[in-house]
Each structure stands twice: as C-alpha cells, then as structure tokens.
C-alpha cells in the first residue's frame, strides 16, 4: 500500500464534511471520514490510517482508536478484497441463511471470520441488515444481494473479480459538494 494520504479531490470532500457541523464540532465528521479512509486505504483501518485521520481532525489518535473499535463496519485487521457479509439473524435464518453460509464455507474452503489464502475473499456472518423481506441476503461492498439461492451465490462468486472495488463502498462522489 502506498502512502496514507487522501488525494486532493477526496481531501476537499473531507473538508466539506467537516463544515457540515457547527464551529468547533468538526469531530462529528469522524465516522464519515473513517469510512472514506477505510475504502481508500485497503479496506481496513491500519494504525497509520487512524493516525492520519486524527491529524486531519486535529484530535488525539486515541479518540479515533476508541471509535474505530466500537463500530462493526470498521476493520482493524486486513480483510480480503471482497468481503462477503451474510446476514444470519432470525428472518434470514428462517429463509435459509445457514445453508448459504455453509455453502460459501465449503466452496471457498474457509470458515466464517476467515480470508482465503489468495486474499480474495473474506466471509463474515453479520446481524440484520434491514433486508429481511428479501432473505436470505448478503452484502458485498455497498451492494445488497437479495433472495439468495445457492445457484445465485455460485454465480456471484464467479462474477467477483480480483479487483479491490468491492471494498469501495464510499468515495469522494458519495457526498454532495456543499
């Protein structure tokens, strides 16, 4: 991974985000900026990335660490280029989520929480993603894949290519240029 530094376009968005909150309250922008950083710098938050975010917001690094470790979307360790997040809560379980998870585990030869040896796929079992009416489902990047069948899962796994676009769930274009 190259140097941890946003390009000018993203940096402009970061400063816009900070202006969304009142004078002296720019720390509010921490969560959205961490998302931008995670998407930009390899799909996870390394200590260097978190320190960089702290320096932008002019807050103590520990203020970033304590937040990053609280929220489930922030990865504190490297993950595969393509993270499969399968919902396992009630409504999805009722409609076969366990079969989906087991199928992926078998096909990729990894268990929940692991990454394939080639660094391509990570598998995560997650809690309700608000897609219970189209269960079972999984999220990859910002996309929801709904009404899954095992065939559909196979198709998707074949489609996902060896690019890191799957972790780019947000970028400079996500936000309005206010």
């Amino acid at each position: 991974m190259s140097e941890v530094k946003f390009n000018d376009e993203t940096l402009a968005v970061v400063h816009n985000l900070m202006r969304r909150y009142p004078e002296g309250r720019h720390k509010s922008a921490l969560l959205p900026i961490l998302h931008l950083a995670q998407a930009e710098f390899g799909g996870w938050l390394s200590p260097a990335t978190m320190d960089y975010v702290a320096s932008i917001l002019n807050i103590k690094p520990v203020e970033v660490y304590e937040v990053a470790s609280f929220y489930s979307m922030y990865n504190l360790n490297p993950v595969g280029k393509c993270m499969l997040e399968v919902c396992r809560t009630s409504s999805c379980w009722l409609r076969g989520a366990d079969d989906v998870i087991r199928h992926i585990e078998k096909r990729l030869e990894i268990k929940v929480g692991e990454t394939t040896a080639d660094g391509m796929f990570s598998l995560k079992a997650v809690e309700c993603l608000g897609s219970c009416g189209t269960a079972p489902m999984m999220q990859v990047g910002k996309d929801y894949h709904e009404n899954l069948t095992l065939e559909k899962v196979d198709e998707l796994l074949t489609q996902f290519t060896n690019e890191d676009k799957h972790s780019r769930y947000c970028d400079a274009n996500t936000y309005r240029k206010n």
Binding site: T89, R95, C132, G133
Partner: protein
Amino acid sequence: MGKKLLLQNDNVPGIDTYEVYRQHGGYTSVEKAFKMTSDEVVEEVKKSGLRGRGGAGFPTGMKWSFLAKPEGVPRYLVCNADESEPGTFKDRYLMQRHPHLLIEGMIAASYALGANTAYIYIRGEYFYIVNILEKAIEEAYTAGWLGDNIQGSGYSLNMYVHPGAGAYICGEETALLESLEGKRGNPRIKPPFPAVKGLYACPTVVNNVETIAAVVPILNMGGDEYAKIGIGKSTGTKLISASGHIKKPGVYEIELGLPVEEFIYSEEYCGGILNDKKLKAVVPGGSSVPILPAELSLKTPTGEPRLMSYESLSEGGFVSGSMLGSGGFIVMDETTSIVRNLHTFNRFYHHESCGQCSPCREGTGWMEKITHKILDGHGTLADIDLLWDIQRKIEGNTICPLGDAAAWPVAAAIRHFREEFEEYVSNPSSIVDVKHYYNIHNLVEA
C-alpha cells in the same frame, strides 16, 4: 384496498426524482406550513394523534411541544434512520423509493421546531441510500426548498446525511447523538432528555424516518382528518415490514386496526403461510417484542380478533400480549424451532450490547451461551430456569432499554414454548434441529 398515505405513489415511475415528486403534489405540506406559525404546525401534529414509528410509540406532537427554547441556543432535528431492529426494513424502503417524502417531512418538522440544521443519521450499511439521499437533497437545494430564505419565507434550513458505522445501539436516541458527535455509541443517562440537552447539549428532537414522513400527509389533510384514520389511539397508517415464512414478504402500508389474520392470510398482504404450512408463531413488532404463539397472534386473550394497533397487540400485557414496536412482523411456520430462533436473538443482543452496564453486558453473554449449549445438546432443565432468572435480572436494571429488549424475547419464548425447551434438554438426540445445528458448526460430519 387499504388507505395509503405514504406509499400512495409507490408505483409512479421516477417518484424518487424531484420533478416527478413535485408533479404529484410534493412539497405542498411545506407551502402549507409556511402559511402557519410554527406552533400551529405542532398543534396539527398533536391533533393527528401521530405516535412515534421508531418503536416506542410516543405521541409526536407532545414530544415536539417539550422541546426547550432558550434564547440564542440552536435547536436540532435529527432523523433516526439507523433501522437495525431485526425484522425491520421499512425505513430503507421509504428512503430508497421516496427520498423526497422524508426531506419534505424534515423541512416541515424543522420549521415547526424552529431548527435551522437537520441531520439524517443513517446506518452505515445503507451507504447506497446515502447516495440516493444526497442526490435528493441536492435537488431540493436547487429547487429552493433548502438553504437560506426558503421560497421567500424568511426561514432557512440546512440538511445533511450522516452515516453510522454498524451498531444497533446507535438507534437508541442518546447513543445516536453521541455517535453523531463522533464518539462511541454509549447511551446517555436520562434525564436530561434530548429535548433539553441533545446534540451538542442543545435542545433536539429525534424522530424516526416514518414518523417524519407522516407529517406530510398530516399537514396536507389536516390533523383532524388524519386522526379519523386508524382505530382509537392508533391513528393513521403504519408501514409493516413482513418477513419469514410467508408467501409475499415485503413492506406494506396498513391502516392501523387491520386484523392480524387478514394481514397474514389475505392476498393483498402476506398471502398466507409459505408452502401452505401451519402458523406457529409471530414476532409482531421487531426482535425486541414478545413472541406470540399462533392462537394469541390471531386472537386476544378474551377471544376478540387481534388487530394491528398499539392497543390490541399489547392486550394481555406480557403474559399473553406483545407490542406493535417498529412493525417488524416476523412469521414462523410449524417447522420452526423457537429455541433456535431465540438463539439468533440472544446472539444479536450480546453482539450489540454497548457494554456500559453489567446486567446487559454479562447477561446477554450468558443468555447466548445457554441457548448455544441447549442447541449443542448439552442443556439441562436447570438451564431453562437460569435463562429465566437472568432475563428477569436484566429487565429494568440498565441505562437504556436495550437490556429490556434483550430480556423480553427470552421471557416470552420460555413462557409460551417451555415444552419445546424441555424437549431439547431432555431428549436432544431426537431433535432434528440439534443435528442440523451440529452440521452447521461442523461438530460432526454431515
């Protein structure tokens, strides 16, 4: 066909764009509001009888009238779009298809509250909806519905979307405010309530997406007319997220007071149980509310038809009733293992506890361990009593209601389905589900 107030234009192509939305009467409620004083708008909402659609059902007009108004201190409206209660997906549906309805409601509500800044706090997993909302907000700015001196009214409002990052607890309003301030989502001790000290210690109203959207039809038709829809103190319409073993899962707008039986079996709504199996149980209002066995889902303890309303669903208290909650309606057929369903909930609450209070942090962990042990085939009768004991000790002893929300599903599952738990612990090898669970976890060969 039931009455539609929020989803009436659901089939109009392009209703997510400003042009089409405006052609179909969009933003008229704001025009109406600007002809009224802010207090008059609050009064209309009071008259409508609207109750919070986020889960607690607190009267919205009353909440608005509690907002403190000290001189020179800004006030905020924060929309709760964290939607993470298992079984609930109606806010996502509304924001994805009708973003301008939410924005319009936000403008009218902010005007009523005298707020000049409004935030939409949306769960981070909904990033694709952040794009949709950002685009719609941009359109609203361009058309002059946001920004300075809106439509020449002298009223100004800025609106921003703020993504969370994966934490159910941030749906709790004070945790949400902490999170919006860039901190961990630990709920605050109340009082002070957000109406007095909310975002940045300023007076703040937090309302659910659907609550805010409902302000639009209320202002358009008038509070009195809105109050005529629905039944008793359950006025208006409600979005129900229907999932589980039904033929037609999805989001349905119902007039409050619709019989549960009609909702489950009629073609207009769920279309009956999947594969024509028998109904076993319903969780009518999101994972936190008590589960009801089939007979108590369809009929109240006194034998009356059970209705989709705040009052009817809670009839019988926790002994034989439940709650409307967020309207997350989860249906289970006769083959469903109640123990295993409960385990998914226990795991969920343990995962989502913020860890501030010991009864919740420790209790949710123990409850997950015990249902796990029972499903592993190693449970004992004493474990069932232990589960009961733990949930009782969590309830009412925590900073925020997540503790209660974790306790109630356990209590209700044991109360109504104790025999099933006993079967699991006394004869585990006979239970297909236990074997299935073994397979899933690769504890034995498939």
